[in-house]
């Protein structure tokens, strides 16, 4: 009598195991896609106005471009913050290594601008909203190894669905 109960439990356990492995395989595949192919995320904050809204936009970012070095000036990239390694920020890439970048140091208070050469292995990032953005103007050029993905498509809000345009505030070829 007890043996039959055990036998029933065995089939339940086996079915639970099968379902678990199916779910685990799916999560594994999802994780690999997120890490190496394409991922989506939400960007919020004032530093990339008007490209990204203050309260939050959903975007798609691809991870292959950064691996193969195919990011360039004018791209919006996902970058691990050099000041807080637990944060990932979205900024626009304005200078590659060797470029001479001219920027306005503190646009709220003065018109002073400075020019700097981006060292080897580094990139210069700036937010589109230079009045309210913490970027390379404050913490300097960042190593390319911190660039994690390139944002290429916006999914939310629906009226802004589509690929990101070039910066509307600066000419990235300057």
């Amino acid at each position: 009598m007890g043996l039959r109960k055990l036998w029933q439990y065995r089939s339940i356990v086996r079915e639970a195991w099968d379902q678990t492995t199916a779910v685990a395989t799916f999560l594994c595949g999802l994780h690999v896609t997120n890490k190496y192919l394409c991922t989506f995320g939400m960007a919020y904050g004032p530093s990339m106005l008007p490209t990204f809204n203050l309260t939050g936009d959903l975007f798609l970012a691809d991870r292959l471009s950064t691996r193969f070095g195919k990011v360039g000036r004018g791209d919006v990239v996902l970058v691990r913050s050099p000041e807080d390694p637990r944060k990932v920020v979205a900024k626009r890439l304005l200078g590659m290594e060797g470029d001479s970048v001219t920027y306005v140091v503190d646009p709220k208070n003065s018109d002073r601008s400075e020019t700097v050469v981006v060292p080897k292995g580094h990139v210069w990032i700036e937010g589109d909203n230079i009045y309210n953005s913490k970027d390379s103007r404050q913490f300097g050029p960042i190593p390319y190894g911190l660039v994690e993905g390139k944002i290429f498509w916006k999914i939310w809000p629906p009226k802004e669905f589509g690929s990101l345009g070039q910066s509307r505030m600066k000419d990235p070829d300057l």
């Binding site: 395989t25 594994c28 994780h31 690999v32 691990r80 913050s81 050099p82 000041e83 807080d84 390694p85 060292p119 080897k120 292995g121 580094h122 960042i142 190593p143 390319y144 190894g145 911190l146």
Partner: protein, 167 residues
């Protein structure tokens, strides 16, 4: 009739090949996840970490949990993505965490001059144990913590160096 037989055979062969491929793919998946998030073996070579690590190559075990949890500190040997060439990975020792003041020899081959620097927020100061032949934070400055990829904790090869790394 013969065609139908052939097709049936090919179908069973194809199904078996697909099953085997799925098993191999799952194994590689698991191996990859372990390598990236738990523990992985790495071959390191070069003169910059003598005498701790050999010139011609050591196989080390690195764990990838510590940098994620913020448990990397001064004195740890870490694997770091190079800020100068993002395709290279360096092995160096962490000498200072954010907020520390580090004093270092600028160019020990030619002069005794010392310099001092404070490590900014979110960065670490890395140096090779062999300061005469190492390109490290003395040349390219403090490195953002986000570039640390793993912490070395064990040496597997050569056999007479098998075991934990000394401080």
């Amino acid at each position: 009739m013969r065609l139908v037989n052939y097709m049936r055979q090919w179908r069973s062969v194809a199904k078996e090949a697909l099953d085997r491929t799925a098993i191999v793919a799952k194994f590689l998946c698991l191996l990859h996840v372990t390598n990236n998030y738990l523990c992985s073996p790495t071959l390191v070579y070069g003169p910059s970490m003598l005498p701790t690590l050999n010139l011609t190559g050591d196989v080390l075990l690195t764990e990838h949990l510590s940098p994620r949890l913020g448990k990397v500190g001064s004195g740890d040997v870490v694997l770091v993505r190079s800020p100068v060439d993002p395709r290279k990975t360096l092995t160096k020792r962490v000498v200072g965490m954010e907020g520390d003041r580090v004093t270092f020899f600028v160019d020990p081959l030619h002069t005794d001059r010392c310099q001092s620097a404070v490590v900014p927020k979110g960065h670490v100061w890395i140096q090779g144990d062999n300061m005469y032949a190492s390109s490290d934070s003395r040349h390219f400055g403090p490195v953002p913590y986000g570039l640390i990829q793993g912490k070395v904790f064990f040496r597997v090869w050569p056999p007479n160096g098998f075991g934990l790394l000394e401080q």
